[in-house]
């Protein structure tokens, strides 16, 4: 197909509809970083499949120019997985909220990890359900008070990063919307990783979360990228480290250099995407009848 390849793209080339997020919402940081990375990697918007769930964060699929799929709550990963398998040429990005990914979508998340499907999954983690006006999400701390938990939640918070590591993830990172340059680095590495890449992004909800604010995060995060000693390739050490921290680790947390992507494992001819096949009825298939004779 004849496409005009621009020499180098810039973030403007990925501009979608005007975001309707609250001013100051952390998700702006994700959007901006993503546009920058896609431009840096010079990926044609038409070759991007951006798949989102439901939530404030998931609206990002309208704000970035790409082939967008805005599906149902919690099921973006199955959709994204299949898109990648049917067309490995595409850059497939899944993006959604912490409710979307760690509550209703938790099972799909860990099964996508198991499959090590070569997509990037961005979770905009704000400890609340933004779109439904501020109920506690699974990452809200024990005791967090919201309209649905007036006495404070009575459930321990889950950490997507730890779960991903325990489930055998090959790429795990965490960013912070208040640090876009780091996000750019993390997204870039995630997009280039040959396997499933989780980037959990601490992305404050300025409207419904008055506890986990930008300032609160600044005080409570520990940027592992700044630690020259830190070795992100040893799963056990990594897990030990982050389980013992009293702060929230950010940065490139873990990366398995030997990762093999699912699409290559599954497809007989990954270079000829099934999605692009010119379908016709193949007469030779008639031979398969022999087994029934």
């Amino acid at each position: 197909m004849a496409t005009v390849i621009k020499a180098q793209r810039n973030p403007k080339d990925y501009e979608g509809l005007k975001p309707v997020w609250c001013p100051g919402c952390g998700d702006f940081g994700v959007l901006n970083a993503l546009k920058k990375v896609l431009a840096d990697l010079n990926i044609d918007p038409k070759d991007i499949a951006l798949v989102t769930g439901i939530g404030c964060s998931s609206q990002i699929s309208s704000f970035l120019k790409a082939y967008a799929f805005h599906g149902v709550h919690g099921r973006l990963l199955p959709v994204a997985t299949a898109i990648k398998l049917m067309n490995p040429h595409l850059t497939v990005i899944g993006a959604g909220g912490d409710g979307d990914g760690y509550a209703i979508g938790l099972s799909h998340f860990l099964h996508a990890v198991r499959r090590n499907v070569d997509i990037t999954y961005i979770v905009m983690n704000n400890q609340v359900y933004g779109l439904t006006k501020g109920q506690a999400s699974p990452t809200a701390a024990f005791g967090f008070v919201t309209t649905s938990t007036p006495q404070g939640t009575r459930e321990r918070d889950v950490d997507g990063v730890k779960l991903a590591l325990a489930a055998g993830a090959t790429f795990v990172a965490r960013g912070f919307s208040g640090d876009v340059p780091q996000l750019v680095r993390l997204f870039k590495e995630a997009l280039q990783h040959p396997g499933f890449a989780l980037v959990d992004v601490l992305s404050p909800c300025v409207t419904y979360n008055r506890v986990n604010t930008y300032d609160w995060f600044r005080e409570n995060i520990l940027n592992l990228d700044e630690d020259p000693e830190y070795d992100p390739t040893d799963r056990v050490k990594v897990l030990t480290k982050i389980m013992t921290l009293d702060r929230i680790p950010t940065g490139l947390i873990f990366k398995d250099p030997s990762s093999k992507p699912y699409s290559r494992l599954l497809l007989k001819d990954p270079d000829n995407p099934p999605a692009l096949e010119e379908l016709r009825v193949r007469p030779e298939l008639a031979e398969l009848q022999e087994q029934f004779v």
Binding site: M1, A2, T3, G16, L17, P45, K46, D47, I48, A49, V51, I54, Q59, S61, S62, K65, A66, Y67, A68, F69, H70, G71, V72, R75, L77, P78, V79, A80, T81, A82, I83, L85, M86, N87, H89, L90, S107, H108, H111, L266, L267, K268, D269, N272, P274, A275, L276, E277, L279, R280, V281, R282, P283, L285, A286, L288, Q289, F292, V293
Partner: protein
Amino acid sequence: MSEVRVNDLSVRIGGQAGDGSLTTGDLLAKALKRMGLWVIALKDFPSRIRGGHTNYTIRAKDAPIWGPGNALDFLLAFDMESVEIHSGEIQPGGVVIYDNSRGEQVPDSLHAKGVHYLGVPLSNIARSELGLELMKNTVALGVLAELLSLDDTIFHDILASTYGRKGPTVVEKNKRAFDLGRRQAAQAPKPPYRITGNGENPKRLLITGDEAIGYGALAAGCRFLAAYPITPATDILEWMAKYLPKYNGVVIQAEDELAAINMAIGAAHAGARAMTSTSGPGFSLMTEAMALAGMVEVPVVIVDCQRPGPSTGLPTKTEQGDLNHAIFGAHGDFPRIVLSPANAEEAFYLIAEAFNLAERFQCPVIFLTEQLVAMSKQTIPPLDLSRITIDRGKLVREPVQNNEEWPFRRFAITEEGISPRPIPSVPGGMFIAKGSEHLESGAYSESPKNRTLMTLKRMRKLERAKEAVPPPVLTGDPTARVGIIGFGGTYGPILEAMEMLAKEGITTKYLRLRTLWPFPAEEIRRFVQESEIVFVVEQNATGQLRGLVERCVGPQEKVESLLKFDGQPFKPLEIATRIDALLVGPERVPARANRARR
């Protein structure tokens, strides 16, 4: 009934699950098919692995058959429980062959009139002469062959091909077992049967509906299946897992049915033909995503192999109780198409058409079948792949010209309701596939006017689809006073019931719905109008199809429900008798006056 019965034979093999009766049954079915007969092999197995009674019924006839017969001719019983359960179904002249290795005897109370009981020490022979108890199956096969005077050759051939990969010793042993069986039965009186076949063996197939669905989908270009194991749909997953990868396709055993259907939707969105297959409980789990497919106009094929519900129900039995859900399930209004095949042969061609309809109308297509069709092995003529066509509808694979505009108007409001569908990577075609209400571009919109127009656009597709979907098939005498309406696997039993009724001078006609939605209202109306009495035959408790018929014609005294919901397929006689019972006088006309108003 002592005349010789020719070429219609029902043999049941009963025992404990794991006893090996399935293998025996398969061998017998194959042999009969190779003789040129039409064979159906019905599994009736418990939903557990061991320790449950299981049975396998092989029926062979010199004409096409798609369901069980009215009675059994032979029962091969590996234990007394089998004799107990099935003895009553054997018709006079038939034979019960039972294993009497441990001195078992059939109690007098079970003896049925005119049935011959033949004890053979099957396990003993297998153990002592062949050193392996499981070989009792092949011994039994020999007994059967002898009683029916069947030729050795076909059996020896089949044993050779079946056990070939286990080495020549195993083959030889099996042949010996077969011969031992023959010898055991040589003295027994021959029952009144003649099985000849027509000599021809036109390469007919012995295939299940599940296999036919997998095969048909592959032939139609399906490149993606995501499914979660569930009886009676698992065989689709397993067949495709074997063959789809060879054609650069992918089969994923998903973590659940929610994932499975969302995967299929993703694959279809990407541009591949995609499918998911399941049964009741999984189908219910797919409800939300079915609505998503309706809203984002993604062509996805959903196969539901029905089993008795609700909930876990009877996982290994048959029913047609998901019809309402297929048509009315899920929140909100959206277009969908529901198809249902009569048997494995039609399943092959119809599933291929399902992909065409899905892509032409850009909506979910539900392919409704049932355990009887899905899991029974049926004899069908060779499949003709040239009958399959591929129509991808308004799929856009070429760059969209002059389109720097973004988003592309993927949901353009057209007269027919169908809009161009570019797939990811097509230049100029980028759009937002949105599950919320949207503008033509896919951008979110709450405008009341747009909402109305978009809803109408989507629903208009169904109007168009009405002309494209397979119309009902009318069988029998169009002028008959007695009408029958049905869908799916009641096909075989209904046809045979019609034959039985015809023999008693009752002519009938039969309207079989291949498309359940959009509902063929006009055809139904005409059919009911032109009949004096109409039987809606279906396998569920509430008359779901009848409810649809009533939407078209209202409740009418002349419309009768003929229901069965015990997990077993209809027998022809059951249908014939219940129809017969409502006809009176020498003319066999509907006994309107006798019937109470519902």
